[in-house]
């Protein structure tokens, strides 16, 4: 009874916009209401090229999964929809809602395995076209660097020296805190990891072939712990928003955060000149680059316009389509296609250039989600001085071994 009522209501709400659609128009669902302008521009360009009209219908981010699920369950889902990566995205595919993208022209040719990894289900099928990735950077205040005669550091050791120099000058080196319980892992630690292990080694850790308390991991966590003295005094009370505000107001020289923050930090709210560089690799290690697939576009398997859906997905997977996408994509989101599509001189091109020739990998924890919360807990404990890097590595390893044994 309740379910029936819920479906009827969801159907009604979803039907309202659909009823206003003309014959032959497609719809696209999304959680990125912020991107209305950009995606509308993208879809307008597509209509210009092909004559197929697609209407963008985003819902609130927090309700996207539930709304989309109800629409799909009720058979009234959008023809195309934004897809999350890994487990969350794969869940919809496993319930049969996604068009399988293996045979879409361009998918196998134009994307690297790393890019496709986030959109590949357990059975090996690709459930969405990779669309945008994010990276993690050290943002720095150019003015403070210039005033203190500091150059962008090339190694992790130089980075620590920069922090020490700033601290000695009475400036808070980093504004990161631990109160939000996610950025310390997703931006800081995941930003560091590709400097220590390659994508292949990551897989070995996922499979349990390598131990998460080996030398490499103790080293990663030890290097992480070396950053703690350079966090703000009140780091335990500072969340991601406040860290951004601190950096934006010039109260700290640097901030380790996601590429998506660039637009806001460089925007009208703040009066600082922002530069960025990837967290540098320690001396002797090959520099890596964190490039994390953030979202893709999937086709609805039950769409009334299967040909148009496939044609649009193929266009997204083509270099020409990706070029148009790169022009309208919001600042800080990087195209996932394996071709040089970023407009020259753009921020996207600048961010991409930083990763050139490096071992690019995604956030290592994304295939080991059971470790997400335990690692955050251990990082917090290291920051508070309640845990050693060795102790943390042992706990993390034991958690993963227990998970693999299940």
């Amino acid at each position: 009874m309740k379910k029936l009522l819920a479906i009827a209501l969801a159907a009604l709400m979803a039907l309202l916009p659909v009823m206003s659609l003309a014959e032959g128009e497609l719809t696209m669902g999304s959680w990125r209401t912020d991107d209305m302008e950009q995606v509308t521009a993208l879809l307008a360009k597509y209509e210009e090229l092909t004559g197929v009209k697609i209407v963008f219908q985003p819902t609130t981010s927090t309700q996207y999964n539930a709304t989309l699920r109800q629409q799909l369950d009720g058979g009234i889902g959008p023809d195309l929809f934004y897809s999350r990566t890994y487990t969350t995205g794969a869940e919809l595919y496993e319930n049969g809602f996604n068009v399988v993208c293996n045979d879409i022209p361009g998918v196998k040719e134009n994307f690297t395995e790393t890019a496709l990894d986030g959109f590949t289900a357990a059975d090996g099928n690709i459930f969405a076209i990779p669309f945008a990735a994010v990276s993690h950077f050290v943002y720095y205040n150019k003015q403070i660097f210039a005033d203190n005669g500091i150059e962008v550091p090339a190694t992790f050791e130089e980075f620590l020296a920069v922090c020490e120099k700033l601290k000695a000058a009475g400036i808070t080196p980093l504004s990161n805190g631990i109160a939000a319980n996610w950025d310390i892992l997703e931006c800081v630690l995941c930003g560091m990891v590709p400097n220590y292990i390659t994508a292949e080694e990551r897989v070995a850790y996922e499979k349990g072939e390598k131990k998460l308390n080996d030398e490499v991991w103790v080293r990663i966590l030890t290097d992480f712990s070396k950053l703690v003295p350079y966090l703000p005094e009140a780091f335990a009370s500072i969340d991601n928003d406040q860290a951004n505000v601190m950096f934006g107001l010039g109260q700290s020289a640097m901030l380790i955060d996601g590429s998506w923050s660039y637009g806001a930090l460089n925007g009208d709210d703040y009066d600082i000149e922002v530069g960025f560089f990837p967290i540098p690799a320690p001396e002797g290690n090959a520099a890596g680059f964190s490039l994390h697939p953030d979202f893709g576009i999937a086709g609805n398997a039950a769409s009334a316009h299967p040909e148009e859906v496939k044609a649009f997905l193929a266009w997204l997977a083509s270099v020409d389509g990706a070029k148009v996408t790169a022009e309208v994509i919001p600042e800080g989101f990087l195209p996932l296609i394996n071709a040089d599509v970023a407009p020259e001189g753009s921020i996207i091109a600048e961010m991409n250039a930083l990763g050139e020739g490096k071992n690019a990998d995604r956030r290592f924890v994304w295939n080991m989600m059971a470790l997400y919360t335990p690692i955050v807990e251990q990082l917090n404990a290291i920051c508070r001085g309640e845990q050693t890097p060795e102790g943390a590595a042992d706990v993390i390893n034991a958690t993963w071994e227990a998970e693999l044994a299940k």
Binding site: N65, D73, T87, A179, E233, F235, S237, I238, Q251
Partner: protein, 316 residues
């Protein structure tokens, strides 16, 4: 004929004070339907949900597996008892501090020599009218040394700053800080109820007591307090229930995880994490476990509410 019309009159509840029959049924039905559809049914359905696994569409009956997991799984049970224990502390702050303050404020406000009662009453009540998300966020900023250490120290109020982590960043003080903000915000509600209760006391009683020589303290403890015991009981139950349903103040001041280190995790945030939102970043909720949490808490609350009701109500 006359008898028949009298019966009809009685059936309609005419002149009779206690008419027989079920004529009252039709007055109850609308509220009953409303109650059943919107309260009783969803509540019972949530109990049923706790016996299932999976989300809408693919739901599977698993018996008591969710309860077994809730009470035996190392991580889940640890979080559950942690949240349960935290909730008692959170409740204790409100029960002891908020309600004692409420009675004190009400006693002062209803004192016959009190001037400007309306003004103070409004002042005490104002925080209740502000959104928790707003007050929570303001206090979060105010309690962060990063923003307030310098100005407070300059004003000679350095003792208000908790260095270095901030009140909300220290697992040892975070729950107290959150509780006190909540007490500050909601103290107006019990105050208003106690004011109304005190005002309901017949002046003659107080007058008689003072003629008999009872001093103000004796009047307060021997006459005014015993006379408002039913209200105190009601307030206690409301505090109990609303505190065990608390969610927003933690959400606004700490994270959904009950940071730092789960020290502010309450049943409400725990339920939300498991049953509604799913753990970040996967975000696939487990409504079954969520329902098991809420059903268990419902049973436990019942054990607290029923004896309190019996003990305090019906004493006129």
């Amino acid at each position: 004929m006359a008898a028949k019309s009298r019966t009809a009159q009685a059936f309609q509840g005419g002149k009779s004070i206690r008419p027989g029959g079920f004529y009252w049924m039709r007055y109850v039905i609308p509220a009953l339907i409303f109650y059943v559809v919107f309260m009783a049914y969803p509540m019972l359905d949530s109990v049923r949900l706790s016996l299932y696994e999976g989300t809408a569409g693919v739901r599977q009956y698993v018996g008591l597996a969710n309860y077994v997991r809730l009470f035996t799984d190392e991580v889940v049970s640890k979080r559950f008892w942690n949240a349960f224990f935290n909730n008692w502390i959170f409740f204790a702050y409100h029960m002891i501090l908020q309600n004692a303050l409420g009675i004190t404020f009400a006693a002062i406000l209803t004192n016959r020599t009190m001037r400007g009662r309306q003004f103070y009453q409004t002042l005490i009540f104002i925080p209740c009218t502000v959104a928790v998300l707003v007050t929570g966020y303001l206090f979060k900023i105010m309690m962060n040394p990063q923003w307030t250490k310098a100005p407070l120290e300059a004003a000679g109020l350095g003792f208000l700053v908790h260095i270095p982590s901030g009140w909300l960043g220290d697992p040892g003080t975070a729950l107290s800080a959150v509780s006190l903000v909540s007490v500050w915000q909601w103290v107006g509600i019990p105050t208003m109820m106690f004011v109304a209760a005190f005002q309901g006391i017949d002046d003659d009683l107080i007058e008689a007591a003072s003629i008999e020589g009872a001093n103000a303290w004796q009047q307060f403890t021997r006459i005014r307090i015993p006379l408002i015991v039913p209200v105190i009981g009601m307030v206690a139950i409301m505090t109990f229930v609303s505190n065990f349903n608390a969610f927003d103040v933690v959400f606004a001041m700490e994270t959904l995880d009950g940071a730092p280190d789960y020290s502010t995790d309450l049943i409400g945030t725990l339920f939300y994490r498991y049953g509604v939102a799913g753990q970040h970043p996967v975000g696939i909720p487990e409504p079954g476990v969520g329902s098991a949490i809420s059903t268990s808490i419902f049973a436990m609350l019942l054990c607290g509410v029923v004896p309190t009701l019996i003990k305090t109500q019906g004493k006129e």
